[in-house]
Subunit: 177 residues, 2 copies
Amino acid sequence: MTVSKPAEKSAEKASEATKGRKEAPEGQSQGLAEALQLGELSEQLGYVLKRAQLKVFENFLRCMASLQLTPAQFSVLLLVEKNPGRNQTEIASTLGILRPNFVALLDNLESRDLCARIRSTNDRRSHILVLTDKGKAVLTRAKKLVATKHESRLNELLGQANREALLGMLSKIANEF
Amino acid sequence: MTVSKPAEKSAEKASEATKGRKEAPEGQSQGLAEALQLGELSEQLGYVLKRAQLKVFENFLRCMASLQLTPAQFSVLLLVEKNPGRNQTEIASTLGILRPNFVALLDNLESRDLCARIRSTNDRRSHILVLTDKGKAVLTRAKKLVATKHESRLNELLGQANREALLGMLSKIANEF
DNA sequence: CGATAATTGTTATGGATCATATCAAATATC
DNA sequence: GATATTTGATATGATCCATAACAATTATCG
C-alpha cells in the first residue's frame, strides 16, 4: 500500500460547502464533507515524494501516448543507445531491473522492432542489445516529446534554476541516502 | 516496469577492472564489465525522482521495522489522528487510496488494535475511524522514530534549508503539475 | 585435461499494489 | 414512495517486484 493520486470529488463538494459554512454547530450538520487536514503528512518527505513521482509519471505517459512508451521502456532505449553492445544483465542491473523481469520488457521492445537481441560471439550465453533503426528514430522522437511537453512544463512550474537544484538533491538522495 | 534499485555487483568488478584498463584493444578483451554511462538518464526528472522515492521508502521501512508500519499505514494513522470522526471514504480518498483497497489496509490496522471502525449514528452506512489508545501510543513512537532516524538523516544529507526547499518543490509538483 | 563452480537468459511462481465491476444496506432525491 | 446515490465490502484482473530453478555456456582450478 503506497500513495496514489488523491481524490477531487469530495473537494468539489467541500468548495460548495465551505462557502456557507457554519461554525460546526455540533450534531449531525447534514454534513457536506469538509476538506481534511493533512497536518504533518504534508511535511513527510516520503509522502510528498511519492505523490510528485506519480504526477510526473502520469504526465510522462500522457506525453508519450503517441509513441506508447512507458518510463521504463524509455529508460531502456536511452541506456542502450548510450551503451551499445552491452548484454541484458548489464542494462537491466544498471536500471535496477531484475533479470527475470527484464525479459518481458525486452520481448515487448523487440516485438515492436525497437530493440534487438544479438547473440554475442565472445560469450554465446549473452545477448548483446542494440537499437534498431526504427528504435533510434522512435527514441529521437521520444526525446523531443519529453523535452518539449514534459520537462518544459517543469521548467515553467519551477524555473530553470530550481529544476536543476531539485534534480541535484534527488540525485543525492538516490545515491547517498 | 518501473525503476528499482540499481546493482552494485558489476560496479565492484568495474572498479577492479578500470585500474589496469587497456585502451580497448578491440576484440574480446576478456572483458571485465565497465560501468555503464547513464547519459541523459541522469537528467530525467522522472527517473531520478523514482530512484529517490525508492530509497526514501526503503529507509523508512528500516526505521519502522520495530513498529512494523509501512508508509501507507503510517499515513493513515497520521490522517486519522488529525481528522478523527471521518469515515473510510474520506480518509482513503484523501490519501489517494481506492476504497476497495482501503478495506484490507484497515483490516490490518484494526486487527492490530491500532485503529477502530465505529458505526456512525448519523449515517449507518459509514464507519467512523478513530485511533485506539494503542494506536495513539504507537503513532507517537512512530513519529519519534521518523524524526530521529529518518528525517534527521535527510537534514544531514541536504541541510535544513535545502530539505525545506525540496519539500516545497515536490509539493508544487504534486499539486500543480 | 576434466570436474566443479559460476554466469546468462529464461520460465515459473508468489506477493504486493492498483484498478474496475458489482453487491447489499442505508440514505438521498424527487 | 419509487428511483438514484452512497458506503463499505467482495471478487477479480492487471501490473510490478522478488525468488527459485533450469539449460546452455563459460570460468576456475585441481
